[in-house]
């Protein structure tokens, strides 16, 4: 190893002192250094405050999923002892888990937040959107989302996306500009320097903001444990009637019933939990005995499959499924 320490090249003014040239050793365990979760929390709070200061009409996408729950928790902390100064928005596919919707409503009420809901079902009912052959409604969320953003003239939209989730998300800036059609142009992103976030945009454009950009799935779970954040119960092990489809375990329910004889034959009750929460028709459960948050942390730390790989059918469509959806304006 070659080390150049320029301070030792400088002409010395007097006799050298022992502390003049500290050596590069291990990270110093100073009390005035942040832990990993403290550093991520502070970064997230800083981002959320920047948005509130620089935008006129921010909104936070809140689904009741763990990432949006953590993001909302940061927003609460950012403005204490005041209230969260923006509403929350949920794009409801119409195929959501009922217990997650109940959690969503209870949380908004507890925090005194205005909850806006954009419903995919409304679009299907009046013909603006058509049900897909595969039954999944995830890609159908884009249009109601973009309409809600323009109807309410939201100019900043907080999303719980994390860069470790997926390789197109790994390319996303913290402040990510969307054009007047809601499109993301991944080949022409603004430079993002230091923590000087540039939120300037033209009328009709908006900015997606990702306060959890640098969090991993494990960070989210460790933070949930540390902050004692309550989640919808389906994140923890429970018994559920499931069937096999494309290597995933789907819940038997009104929106995800077996379609083939093979699927029907595979119906059984298993002890499962959900690693992600989305549309019932394409969100898979994982076999798990993790009944509490510490069990989940141990499970996530040991897993060999990514969160989306384990649970999301729509990301298996192609190498660039997420990139293509994001370009069109998806979360």
């Amino acid at each position: 190893m070659t080390t150049i320490d320029l301070t030792t090249d400088a002409p010395s003014a007097g006799p050298s002192t022992p502390d003049a040239a500290p050596t590069p050793t291990a990270a110093l365990p100073s009390a005035r250094r942040l832990t990993q979760l403290d550093a991520l929390e502070s970064e997230g709070i800083h981002i959320i405050r920047e948005v509130v200061a620089e935008f006129e009409r921010p909104v936070l996408l809140f689904s009741g999923g763990k990432d949006s729950v953590v993001m909302l928790h940061l927003a609460v902390k950012a403005f204490a002892p005041g209230p969260v100064p923006f509403p929350v928005l949920h794009v409801d596919t119409g195929h959501n888990f009922p217990e997650v919707l109940a959690y969503r409503d209870a949380t908004a009420q507890r925090l005194g937040l205005r909850l806006e809901v954009a419903r995919v079902q409304d679009y299907i009912d009046d013909g603006r959107l058509r049900e897909r052959a595969d039954g999944t409604r995830n890609p159908l969320q884009t249009q109601p989302l973009l309409d809600a953003i323009s109807d309410h003239r939201f100019d900043a939209v907080f999303g719980g996306g994390r860069r470790d989730e997926e390789k197109a998300r790994a390319k996303e800036r913290v402040f990510s500009l969307r054009d007047e059609f809601g499109q993301w142009d991944p080949r022409n992103q603004r430079p993002e320097l230091w923590n000087l976030y540039n939120g300037r945009h033209r009328p009709g454009e908006h900015v997606r903001v990702f306060p959890l950009s640098n969090w991993t799935e494990l960070d989210v779970w460790r933070y949930i444990a540390r902050e004692r954040i309550e989640l919808p119960a389906l994140y923890y092990a429970h018994e559920r009637e499931v069937f096999d489809r494309d290597g995933m375990l789907l819940a038997v329910g009104p929106y995800s019933a077996p379609r083939t004889d093979a699927e029907a034959a595979s119906v059984r009750t298993e002890t499962v939990r959900y690693r992600t929460v989305g549309d019932m028709s394409c969100t898979g459960a994982v076999r798990s005995d993790a009944a509490g948050v510490e069990d989940v942390i141990a499970e996530v730390a040991a897993t060999r499959i990514t969160e989306r790989g384990a649970t999301r059918a729509d990301d298996r469509l192609s190498e660039a499924a997420m990139e293509d959806r994001k370009k069109e304006g998806y979360f």
């Binding site: 070659t2 320490d5 100073s30 990993q36 405050r49 200061a53 005041g82 209230p83 320097l193 190498e319």
Partner: protein, 459 residues
């Protein structure tokens, strides 16, 4: 390949959150075909940070393309266009952890046309890992990346001399390159530089030391070194700076204790502040003292905080009812920065159109945005000579010096002594695009006069 026990195997990543200063931000840079994506893939793969389904996907795509082994570069090249062209266009962020620390890795592009994305990745980095091809040696792009790392005052630079297997593991070739790197780093003012002979393809000295192939090398592997390097700045050696983000005044709070609450929310940019400290609010210059420091946790528990340090997000209450708004800077009264409407700065110009004197732009410094006009373009950096040469304009990817006149004062500090309060953006007032990364003062002074760089950057 390695003869020592891996730093990864055997020990597991701790699940608690008790360790401090262990999150390291690193950026990788290199020229085209230096094997950077392969090195990143190797780091992720050998540190067991690649999960089975990601590897399956890489193997499937590699097979579809007729490759015999998995192309680890596919792990980080996430955009369709990147995979099609086999190049990296924009920064990809990756996360991995060892038993010792966690890493946020910004994998930056090598092409000169994407230098702005490399500046993005390097601006937040504690360490830049720069690759060179042992057969090719230092290229102009290597010097550009060293200049960017120096300019941004990235605390550490590690130069990985890659493809060492393709020069027959030659000690003499490595020594020659290490000397070249040392000379270039010194001339460009890079503070702390390390060199390591590696083969990303084979895995020599990436995670495990390769005493079989490079017995003449007695330093650490790349991962061992990354586990040891100290992170960023030490708040205890800095002056206190606190840019106000938001004023918190919950007049309609449900809890009536807080109806008269008035706090200034922000993230400590540098230093430490203690309750009772005398502070000055800039640019007004009003002096007051810190009455209290709050976080959501302290308000909920009723415990009072006595101090805050960088980079904590807190809310500060002041003793006097002074006028404080977003964009103001609360600073230690004894060591306050000057406020000025005339800024001499160093720019990394990232705009597609050239910068000419007379240009009207917006300048964003901490939480304050002001109008600015470019008075003069002083010169641009010649990467070969490391000298500032006279120039009338700055073109895309140029590094140069300018003088700016601002419509309102800012508390601008020399970037070489205060990164957070010495940095600024230039923004296009029309389309909002980010035009330049700016550093207050002669950030290139260190480039030209390395011996005079401030001692506070000693590691």
């Amino acid at each position: 390949m390695g003869t020592q026990t891996s730093t990864v195997e055997g020990e597991s990543v701790p699940l608690d959150d008790t360790r401090r200063g262990t999150l390291l931000r690193l950026a990788t840079a290199g020229s085209v075909d230096d094997g950077k994506s392969t090195l990143v893939g190797r780091l992720l793969f050998d540190s067991k940070s690649v999960l089975a389904d990601q590897l399956d996907a890489v193997e499937r795509v590699s097979r579809d393309r007729g490759l015999e082994t998995a192309d680890l570069a596919l792990l980080t090249d996430g955009l369709r266009a990147e995979r099609e062209q086999g190049i990296t266009i924009d920064v990809a962020y990756r996360y991995f952890a060892t038993a010792r620390r966690s890493f946020i890795l910004a994998d930056c592009p090598g092409h000169v046309q994407y230098t702005r994305n490399t500046v993005t990745g390097a601006s937040t980095a504690d360490v830049v890992v720069l690759l060179i091809d042992a057969r090719k040696g230092l290229l102009e792009q290597t010097r550009r990346h060293l200049a960017v790392a120096s300019l941004l005052r990235v605390p550490h630079v590690v130069v990985a001399v890659n493809k060492i297997d393709l020069v027959d593991y030659g000690e003499a070739r490595y020594a020659e390159l290490a000397a070249d790197i040392r000379a270039a780093a010194t001339s460009l003012g890079v503070g702390d530089v390390h060199t390591i002979p590696v083969s990303a393809l084979v895995g020599d000295n990436v995670v495990d030391r390769s005493s079989a192939n490079t017995p003449w090398y007695d330093g650490p592997s790349l991962l061992e070194l990354l586990e040891e390097l100290p992170t960023g700045d030490d708040p205890e050696t800095e002056s206190f700076r606190f840019p106000v983000q938001v004023v918190i005044r919950p007049q309609a709070a449900a809890d009536e204790r807080y109806r008269d609450y008035r706090g200034y929310a922000g993230q400590v940019a540098s230093g430490v502040v203690t309750v009772g400290d005398e502070v000055v609010v800039l640019p007004s210059g009003r002096r007051t003292t810190v009455a209290g420091i709050d976080t959501a946790d302290s308000l909920a528990s009723g415990e009072t905080l006595t101090e805050a340090f960088a980079p904590q997000s807190v809310t500060i209450r002041l003793t006097d009812d002074v006028d404080v708004a977003r964009g103001d800077l609360i600073a230690a009264a004894a060591e306050a920065p000057d406020v000025t409407q005339d800024v001499e700065g160093t720019l990394a110009w990232l705009g597609d159109r050239p910068l000419l004197p007379g240009a009207r732009v917006l300048l964003k410094h901490t939480t304050r945005t002001v109008q600015a006009v470019v008075r003069d373009v002083v010169g641009r950096l010649d990467l070969d000579t490391a000298e500032l040469e006279p120039a009338e304009r700055l073109e895309l990817n140029d590094i140069g010096r300018v003088t700016l006149r601002l419509a309102a004062p800012v508390a601008a500090e020399e970037y070489v002594v205060a990164r957070r309060t010495g940095a600024f953006l230039l923004v296009d007032a029309q389309d909002g695009g980010t035009l330049a990364a700016g550093m207050v003062g002669d950030a290139l002074a260190a480039v030209r006069r390395p011996a005079e760089r401030p001692g506070s950057y000693a590691i």
